[in-house]
């Protein structure tokens, strides 16, 4: 029993990332009808927002301290981050420590901006072109974005730790009445799950309870009619693209402590997120979220040693296997509407 709960928990953090990325992908597909292969790159840019903020916060003024010497006998160079000299040592250190959560605020405007530029500058011109062209141009864009990041940040992963409070693990099993040390779970993964739940809830609430969201939903259902009613649906869809980019970016920001950001992390997640979208059903937001968590948890179960002993290698292919079965037996996915992209 405890190992089952442990696997569910293990699946949750990856599942959260899948769900967030797939949610953004589905938002874009549902509104604009574009298959965005650059969405993984947005996730990666989000993660690098966290790296950048960390770098900005640790920008330091270097002074030589003549009273101390380093191991070579030269005067010791003391680096004091500017934030520490400006806000006092304690506040400054706390700011640096909390760089990743702070990057949430930092990344939202950046991601929305990136999304706007992408939609207005490139994708807008591809609405009338075939899906294959959309896939290819966004794939090209993804390559370009990841190479730009590589040129500036190098090819190695950059460790970006979580705040000290959230490092380490806690004994989750004791809370549920199991033996101590049965279920050990890192704090940050719990935070990540809670965070993604909040984001998913916020996106759904935004679409459900605001006038803007209502118009967007109407546009998703029937774009032409909404346009005929005199509503500028294109503008709203552009904003939705920005929001989708922000969702992917936030998923990336918070993922940075779990997996050190590197330039190809977007591509790694992209394929899986597409699989998630297809399993959930093209254009279905709840489907994307459900499939994200479901596949995350399935993957966690498949990597249990007991299961790997029965079917070796199942952990590597389980997600793809599920996707193939779903596409072949139920092409509209778990919760997809009839007729969406069903040729």
């Amino acid at each position: 029993m405890d190992s089952i709960i442990l696997q569910i928990l293990n699946g949750l953090d990856k599942g959260s990332a899948y769900a967030l990325i797939a949610l953004g992908l589905t938002l874009i597909f549902g509104t604009l009808g574009v298959v965005n292969f650059a969405h993984g790159a947005l996730f990666m840019i989000g993660a690098f927002c966290a790296v950048t903020l960390k770098k900005i916060l640790t920008l330091s003024s270097v002074v030589e301290d003549p009273t101390k010497t380093d191991f070579l006998g030269k005067p010791l160079k003391v680096a004091t981050p500017y934030v520490e000299s400006w806000f006092g040592e304690a506040t400054g250190a706390a700011l640096i420590d909390w760089a990743v959560p702070l990057a949430i605020l930092f990344s939202i405007p950046i991601m929305i901006g990136v999304g706007f530029i992408m939609e207005r500058g490139l994708i807008k011109h591809f609405y009338k072109r075939p899906h294959a062209d959309q896939i290819l141009v966004t794939f090209g864009l993804a390559i370009v974005l990841q190479e730009v990041i590589k040129a500036f940040y190098g090819a190695n992963p950059i460790p970006t730790p979580a705040p000290a409070v959230f490092r380490g693990s806690f004994d989750f099993g004791v809370l549920l009445g199991f033996d101590p040390n049965a279920i050990i779970y890192p704090y940050w993964r719990m935070v990540y799950f809670a965070f993604s739940a909040v984001i998913i809830g916020a996106v759904f609430a935004f679409l459900r309870f605001t006038t803007f969201g209502m118009v967007v939903r109407a546009g998703m259902a029937d774009r032409e009619t909404v346009g005929l009613l005199g509503i500028n649906i294109d503008k709203r869809f552009t904003i939705m693209f920005g929001i989708a980019a922000a969702v992917a970016g936030l998923a990336g920001v918070m993922y940075a402590p779990i997996n050190s950001p590197n330039y190809h992390m977007g591509m790694d997640f992209l394929v899986l997120s597409f699989v998630v979208v297809v399993v959930g059903g093209m254009g279905s937001l709840p489907g994307a979220v459900l499939a994200g968590f479901m596949l995350g948890i399935l993957e966690a179960f498949a990597s249990m040693n007991q299961i790997k002993a029965i079917i070796p290698g199942i952990d590597q292919i389980i997600i793809y296997l599920v996707a193939i079965i779903i596409i072949l037996t139920r092409p509209r996915g778990l919760m997809g509407k009839k007729g969406v992209m069903e040729e």
Partner: protein, 406 residues
Amino acid sequence: MLGLNKKDTTLFLIVIGMAMLAPFILNPFPEGSSLAQMFNAGYPDLMQRFVIFGILVIGFNILFGLTGYLSFGHAAFLGIGSYSAVWMFKLVGMNVLPAILLSMIVSGVFALLIGYVSLRRSGIYFSILTLAIAQMCYNLAYSVLGNPSSNFNLTNGETGLQLSLNDPRILGSATTDGALPVTNLFGAAMRSSYQWEAGSWLFTFNVGYYFSAIIMLISFYISIRIFRSPFGMMLRAVKSNQQRMNYTGLNTRPYVLAAFVISGIYAGLAGGLLSSMDPLAGAERMHWTASGEIVIMAILGGVGTLIGPVVGAGFNEYFKNILSKINDDILHTWLSFLPDGLENLLVGFLHYFVGKGWHLTLGIMFMLVIIFLPGGLVQGGQRIAKLFSRKKDGQATPPATQTPAE
């Protein structure tokens, strides 16, 4: 000639000429000059890659160009072909013919299975199905099937499958000197070359290159015949409107499946040739970004055209090679005529696009081609040609809007 019409015969003859004279064409600069180091591409390894990737993309074009089914997992067949060829070298002998034959058969069988499954869907679902299946193959080849400590080590995981001295090699002559045997075609080693010095030029004629080039020419000829056959016509009809085809009571799936298998066999053949040139097969050949590169090559050249795939593959490989060779020092010497400040600025800017950053340049080029030239470089060439011919005529006839296919 050979059942081709006049236009195709000319095209085919040009390709034959280019392929046979490649060691001359690709070596325009005298040996040892600085330009030669940069732009000469007439060495065996690169020339082999030109033609082998040419085969791969010609095959991909039969599927994507004719039927419009965008497979995002084509590299799987390349990998499967490579592995089977290396196994043939390990088990049977170092002759390349059986190896290539086996890689074609194995990849054909895989293509039949994968195509049967994935062609049940079309459009984006087909792309994602092929992508998923290819990633599955990659993951399996990388982990479970390649665990060196298990009894069932098919792919040798991260290290890649390679020859070793204690392979059985039933038909192979025993090597006594302790060196690994080399791949050959009835005794002619693939890696052996003949070098001809003419003045200050040095031309290399490599056995492996000519072997691959002849296979490429055969593949190219077959692809022309497919393009011009009723079968090719059927595939084009599938691309333009599959539903209407179905309404006429025709089951299109066998045709598309045939195209899928043919292009899978082409990819397997390319993989087998890659292994024949260098008997080492790694899982990274099957990664989905490798499939993406195949798509890029096809698009760069021009999808649905006959010559496009060859152009695209050559272009991609050539620029990859050149761009990755340029470094800051070379940029400095090139731009030395500029004032120093400007020179440093420009070099600092260009630095991101050359050397290790060649991916970026190719990515940008790929995007530009998709945005402005959906028909690829071939369409670009046609446009330029049209521009000139119109000027010559001096007539103001509006150019007939032509589809890039043909």
